[in-house]
């Protein structure tokens, strides 16, 4: 039993989207521009050429936050969305009735409809692929050119992620909602 989370050194991100492709290839994600378990948020810089604000152009890699108080799980009428033993939020596609309550409830827009199965799909932290084979990294972490991500057990004080979170300042997205996300952005 572990409590898996991910730390993101997001300033390293160059918006190359290697993570998105690695995720799709590893997990057999459906093709399509909006069919993704993982993405990089970006915005155009403020200002007018040539006076553009560099600090306003940020790349923010993201995916399911695997919240400890996950709104998606709370609203699911069939218990299709559940926490596994390692605290990973998963969808049991056999139980999913595509009511899409979870998609509306998720504050992070981390879910989409897989049109092959007509069920809701999302990031699994590679639990049924890489972790199931005994690997210790997710596909997005392993492939990243600038090494944005560190995945690991938050309950293990010696894990790399625990060390990073102890030694570096970090923040969570929409922390005020009280969802207790397990993605941590390093400053």
């Amino acid at each position: 039993m572990a409590r898996y989370g991910m730390a993101l050194d997001y300033k390293n991100c160059i918006n190359c989207r290697a993570c998105e492709v690695a995720c799709k290839e590893e997990n057999g994600v459906e093709l399509g521009a909006e069919k993704h378990r993982i993405w990089v948020g970006s915005n155009n810089p403020d200002g007018e050429w040539p006076n553009l604000s560099l600090s306003s152009a940020v790349f923010l890699p993201s995916q399911c936050q695997h919240c400890e108080e996950a709104p998606c799980q709370e609203v699911c009428p069939t218990n299709a969305t559940y926490y596994n033993d390692d605290g990973i939020v998963l969808v049991d596609s056999d139980k999913c009735i595509l009511c899409t309550y979870c998609m509306n409830a998720c504050p992070y827009d981390a879910r989409y409809v897989d049109e092959r199965t007509m069920t809701v799909d999302k990031c699994t932290f590679c639990s049924d692929t890489r972790l199931a084979r005994g690997e210790t990294t997710t596909a997005c972490q392993a492939t990243c050119p600038t090494k944005v991500r560190t995945f690991g057990d938050l309950d293990d004080p010696n894990s790399e992620i625990s060390q990073l979170l102890e030694n570096r300042e970090h923040f969570s997205l929409k922390a005020h909602l009280g969802t207790k996300p397990k993605l941590f952005y390093l400053r």
């Binding site: 050194d9 300033k11 390293n12 991100c13 160059i14 918006n15 190359c16 989207r17 290697a18 998105e20 492709v21 690695a22 799709k24 290839e25 590893e26 997990n27 057999g28 994600v29 459906e30 093709l31 399509g32 521009a33 909006e34 069919k35 948020g41 970006s42 915005n43 155009n44 810089p45 200002g47 007018e48 050429w49 040539p50 553009l52 560099l54 152009a57 940020v58 790349f59 049109e115 049924d128 692929t129 890489r130 199931a132 084979r133 210790t136 990294t137 596909a139 972490q141 392993a142 492939t143 990243c144 050119p145 600038t146 090494k147 991500r149 560190t150 995945f151 690991g152 790399e160």
Partner: protein, 795 residues
């Protein structure tokens, strides 16, 4: 955000259509019996979820761009389900980019060239007949009723081998093709990607500091990076080192680019330099450094050649920051600040860059950059430009015939220094098209190269190909250039072939080997097998033509007998490929590093001396490849120098010192826009625009138009625009943005395929090569990409 505004419908249609194709392809495939040979099957779905079963992990070297990153292919029952990064290769630092991950889709691209094809219709109409390999080789030798073969052409040209021309884009099997066409068949007329790419930067740096070197971005503390978009045009390990340390984390980063790129987004400062005026910026930096005496005097005293005359040159021409401000659009104060900060830094780097030539002054720009770097003294040391020491592999010996009837190359009109290996694509093409060549060029062999989309002025390249008696192409996908081929030979993709071992790196050198993850699909073949088989078919008939016209050969035969000459003088064209690639790799590795090294290479895909002791994991993401005291930060080398005044160049009509000329000034006529081209991180030129996975990320290219200009002209996102230059016109969707200047437009290179056989990329976006005029720079005849003006109109 741009991505959100794109309709999803087209993708859905694409996915549905392709899953059907995928299904039918599976039914056609022959399942190979299991045994020693790797299997190969076509997956049923586009993305295949990896299983928890045991799988083969085959070390491969990525072939989706020039970098050659290392990875392991996960192969489950003959299907490649995943590509993972290889943690042993210092160059790629345990990573694969978006394209590297999507390489699977190149292998399983339903539009791949699957069988040899011979043209049965008119050139360009797409009518081909599927033939056997034997029939395809025979068509190359003997022609068909629609086109002439090599035998007839060479006979008519009296064994002037140079009537055959060839081109090959970058890649590990390129040298083999050079051996086949250049050394064995014997033509001098070779053109490649260098003269439409980075020729001036290589030439400028070698001429000035004796190396192109490697920028040690892992330890530099100040970086000026101009016209090099490392966040989107990924170079390993530069990109990987740079962006872990930018944004206030040790590497101060100053970006010059006319457009606000993803690299600019990561910078401390971004200067929107006018296109083609970087040279004025560097000259002004130099002016500041010389007047304020900020340079490394010890280094200059011991290594510089012609420093005093360069100093006089810079000062007397008054290349002041104020002068440069008017030319570059960069405030004088910023130039002064950058010059002072650069020289005050401990490890400053003016990044060399590696890109296509943007303006006619590019060679001089590179010289000025290299000199400026040299003035800091930050060469051949940690945090500077590394000279280093590559690992050497034994050369392969080749027995090359000498053809006395073969004529010299001619593509030096208006060119000061013609590269001896591969000349100038543009000058060569233009002289052939304009009938200025001293003899007829009648056959074109193309491999892994798509000149129709990559050499500026597509219409002219098409005329060049249409003027040939015989066009042959060896490739993986039906490119636009393949439309003009008479014979098409389908090559295996990089995941289906073992390639010649290669050495990479100067600071942390390593040997790498690509191994075939699966057997070649369909009837495709690995390039070395194609070279060998084609050589076998051509040997005797072409020898017979030489016998007829080559007086020297006739004499040799008289003296030594035909059989002896044929065998001993290299006329058996296939003898270079008597051993296959794996066998040669083993021989060369064992000879250089021993049996154990070969075993390590086979298993890990990477070898360098002491890899087993040196290579250690630092954290879940990063590795140490060499201990600090074993990295080649500093080496004893005669190459280390700083040639400020290069007198030899003057004899060739080239400025011996970088000099600004009035004609370099950036100006755009009223109502027009300067077209600039470039890259995004999710495609490799025209080679990957048919890749299904990458199309999700970059579905098409857009024309960036300044937002205020667009508003005035009533142009909204997605509107169709007609873009017109003197060379041609295209239509493309608009992307209004403040990331570009009001008098410039940008489009990514590589889109707008004309070949309907490319179902994903056909007609999608626009091809910049149609618009780009046939402008080349004067030193090497390298194509100039950013000097074309265009008009735009909403349609």
């Amino acid at each position: 955000m741009m991505q959100k505004e794109i309709s999803r419908r087209r993708f859905l249609q694409g996915s549905v259509a392709l899953s059907v194709i995928g299904g039918s392809a599976l039914a056609e495939t022959h399942l190979l019996p299991s045994g020693k040979e790797p299997l190969s099957r076509i997956p049923e779905s586009i993305t295949t979820k990896t299983s928890t079963k045991q799988a083969q992990e085959v070390p491969f070297l990525c072939g989706i761009c020039v970098n050659k990153c290392a990875g392991f292919a996960r192969v489950e029952d003959g299907i490649i389900t995943k590509l993972d990064p290889n943690p042993y290769f210092p160059k790629s630092r345990n990573m694969l980019c978006a394209r590297g991950n999507a390489g699977i889709q190149t292998t399983y691209d339903p539009d791949r060239l699957k069988y040899p094809l011979v043209r049965i219709g008119k050139r360009g109409d797409g009518k081909y007949k599927r033939v056997s390999w034997e029939e395809a080789y025979d068509a190359i030798l003997n022609g068909t009723r629609l086109f002439k073969g090599l035998k007839e052409i060479l006979d008519e040209e009296k064994d002037n081998r140079s009537t055959i021309a060839y081109c090959n884009g970058e890649g590990l099997s390129k040298e083999g093709f050079e051996s086949l066409m250049g050394e064995k068949i014997g033509t001098v007329n070779y053109v490649d990607e260098v003269s439409i790419c980075l020729e001036t930067v290589l030439g400028g740096y070698f001429a000035t500091i004796g190396t192109y070197g490697e920028a040690d971005l892992g330890h530099a503390d100040y970086l000026v990076i101009a016209g090099a978009n490392r966040a989107e045009a990924i170079i390993t390990p530069d990109t990987l080192d740079l962006f872990k340390r930018s944004e206030g984390r040790g590497l101060k980063t100053i970006v010059l680019d006319p457009r606000f790129t993803n690299t600019a987004a990561k910078a401390d400062r971004w200067y929107a330099v006018n296109p083609g005026t970087d040279l004025a910026f560097v000259l002004a930096l130099t002016h500041v450094v010389l007047t304020e005496e900020l340079y490394d005097k010890t280094f200059v005293a011991s290594h510089a050649v012609g420093f005093e005359s360069y100093k006089t040159h810079i000062l007397s021409n008054k290349y002041t920051p104020e002068w440069a401000e008017k030319i570059t659009n960069i405030p004088a104060g910023e130039i002064v600040r950058t010059a002072r900060e650069f020289m005050a830094a401990e490890h400053p780097i003016y990044y060399q860059g590696r890109r296509s030539v943007f303006s006619k002054n590019d060679f001089q720009l590179r010289r000025a950059m290299a000199i400026f770097q040299g003035l800091s003294g930050n060469l051949n040391k940690k945090g500077g430009i590394i000279y280093g020491e590559p690992l050497k592999l034994p050369e392969e010996e080749i027995s090359a015939p000498i053809y006395s009837q073969a004529k010299d190359r001619f593509d030096h009109e208006g060119v000061a220094i013609l590269s001896q290996r591969a000349g100038s694509w543009m000058v060569f093409r233009d002289m052939v098209v304009e009938k200025k060549s001293p003899y007829r060029v009648r056959a074109m062999f193309m491999r892994k190269h798509n000149p129709v989309d990559s050499v500026p002025d597509t219409a002219k390249t098409i005329r060049f190909l249409e003027g040939m008696d015989l066009n042959v192409i060896i490739d993986i996908l039906p490119s636009d250039s393949a439309m003009f081929a008479d014979v098409i030979l389908p090559e295996a993709s990089y995941l289906e072939k073992t390639s010649p071992v290669t050495s990479y790196g100067l600071l942390e050198p390593a040997i790498v080997q690509r191994k075939a993850a699966i057997k070649p699909l369909y009837e495709t073949k690995v390039p070395e097998q194609i070279y060998k088989e084609l050589a076998t078919v051509l040997s005797k008939p072409l020898f017979d033509i030489s016998k007829k016209y080559d007086k020297d050969l006739q004499n040799e035969i008289k003296n030594r007998g035909e059989q002896a000459v044929y065998k001993e003088d290299g006329y058996i064209l296939s003898d270079f490929w008597d051993k296959d690639v794996s066998e040669k790799n083993k021989e060369r590795m064992v000879k250089a590093f021993g049996e154990k090294a070969w075993k390590i290479l086979e298993e890990k895909g990477v070898y360098y001396p002491h890899i087993e002791q040196y290579h250690t994991q630092l954290n879940p993401n990063e590795y140490r490849y060499y201990p600090e005291n074993r990295k080649k930060y500093h080496v004893q080398t005669d190459a280390l120098k700083l040639i400020c005044d290069y007198k030899h160049l003057a004899a060739k009509g080239v400025d011996p010192m970088p000099t600004w000329k009035e004609e370099y000034t950036f100006s755009v006529p009223e109502g027009q826009f300067r077209l600039i081209t470039g890259r995004h991180a999710q495609f490799t030129q025209s080679a990957t625009t048919n890749n299904m996975m990458l199309r999700d990320l970059i579905p098409t290219n857009y024309l960036w138009v300044n937002q205020r200009v667009a508003r005035n002209r009533g142009i909204k996102f997605g509107d169709m625009l007609e873009v017109k230059s003197r060379a041609g016109k295209v239509t493309i969707k608009a992307y209004p943005t403040e990331k570009i200047a009001p008098n410039q437009v940008f489009m990514a290179h590589g889109f707008g395929s004309m070949n309907p056989e490319m179902t994903m990329s056909y007609g999608n976006g626009a091809n910049d090569a149609i618009l780009l005029e046939d402008i080349h720079e004067p030193v090497y005849g390298a194509a100039v990409m950013n000097e074309t003006n265009v008009e735009i109109r909403k349609v």
